[in-house]
Amino acid sequence: MRDWILKVENLTKIYGDGCPNCLKSETNKCPFCRATIAVNSVSLALYSGEILGIMGESGSGKSTLVRSLYFDISPTLGEAYLNGEERNIFNFNSQEKRKLRNFNMGMVYQSPYRGLNFEITAGGNVAEKLLMANWRSYSNIRRRLIDLFEKTELPLNRMDDFPATLSGGMQQRIQIAKALANNPEILFLDEPTSGLDLSVQARLLDLIKKIQQELKISIILVSHDLGVIRLLADRVLVMREGRIIESGLTDQILEDPQHPYTQLLVNSML
């Protein structure tokens, strides 16, 4: 069996002061203190080389969960472990976190405005990630950029263009190139294809699949689109009101969902 690579235990993110009743709240608004429990006691394991899908409606906490794991957000409670490292990564100091983020993880955001710096060129965006991982030689960086542009099927002659002049599909490819720059073990994809034309979406999904197969990278994929989940994910977690309400093999979740909410979701989308 495949080894686990990332384990998360009881991850919770509360916006607001919080109170002792927050975690017992059925919804993500605590009835006692009005705080928002964006993620409530989530535990999961990501296995090496798999694509783990996270689905759920808008506001269910999917993005907060992956952004916490990428250290964009600091969780209120909970632990996360990488295989072979005994300390909770949320207790790492900021330098250690930066190192994990730069060397071990990659992130693609739904919005390119969050994932890219629009003040610098497409190539510059990817190079930035290399510089953060201590790449110094200009010619090596240049070679790596060409390599990454080819891998993500980006035209080389757009390398010196600014993100704003590129299509939505290309902007996402730049995010992917950037995320892959330092050969991370874990990739977080937060709605990487939403808002794009169907044909652009399809090509991007194929690219993700190809990259996953070639690099054997482990991926957490957030999507509310069942088609995307079915195409890419081996397993799925279903989130609602900050909690995981159901998890299973992708075909099982689609054909035999257990939770009323998942049944509704699957039935309304097929």
Binding site: M1, R2, A202, R235, D251, Q252, E255
Partner: protein, 242 residues
Amino acid sequence: MQDIILKVRNLSKKFNLHLLGGKVITAFQNASFVLKRGEFLGISGKSGSGKSSLIKCIYRTYLSTEGEIVYYPKNGMPIDLARCLDEEIIDLRHRKIGYVSQFFYAIPRVSCLKIVTQTLIQQGVDEDGAKRRAKNMLLRLLIPERLFDAYPSTFSGGERQRVNIAQALVKKAELLLLDEPTASLDKTSRAIVLDEILKLKKKGISVIGIFHDDEELKRFADRILVLEEGKIKEIYKNDKNS
């Protein structure tokens, strides 16, 4: 004592349809039987009697409601397919258990050769070997070379089903689950598919199969399990096949 590969005990599958006010539908209940290593167990029964659900529970596309499905791999510890981790099922699907579904979901934009090659790579076969074996299997199932790079989502029903069969048969699983594999095939390709299944059986692969044609079932099955309204009515030895 005869070597056993699968022991199903008191297995039930109920669907709780929350959208219909919690209506409960029983697909099958209290199913108990064993599958011997190398045996071909046929399942027969009317439409709606629970045949596909039983196979899907074994493959874990459906979650069993009660009971257990203990799988005894040739090497390794017994494992309850009804309750084990999803990750363990994925591993078994990659290496040990093959499945031909009644309705094939062809992944869009993946070539037919790639689909079959990929199942072998997942099993640990190297890329060149996987490609060679995949090509062989496709050709044996009468998929012409000119279709290798095409997408099964654009194929005819029969061609698509043969790709489905190819990806299940090529990997020489220990346990093969067949849900009406030949239903959408014409006479020629049907004979060829049946021939390939027979070859696997001779190699000692254990099979549980649903065939909509009783003749076909009787040609292969060592024993036949009859389902009636979700209950096992009988399991009898098939004398025609010896």
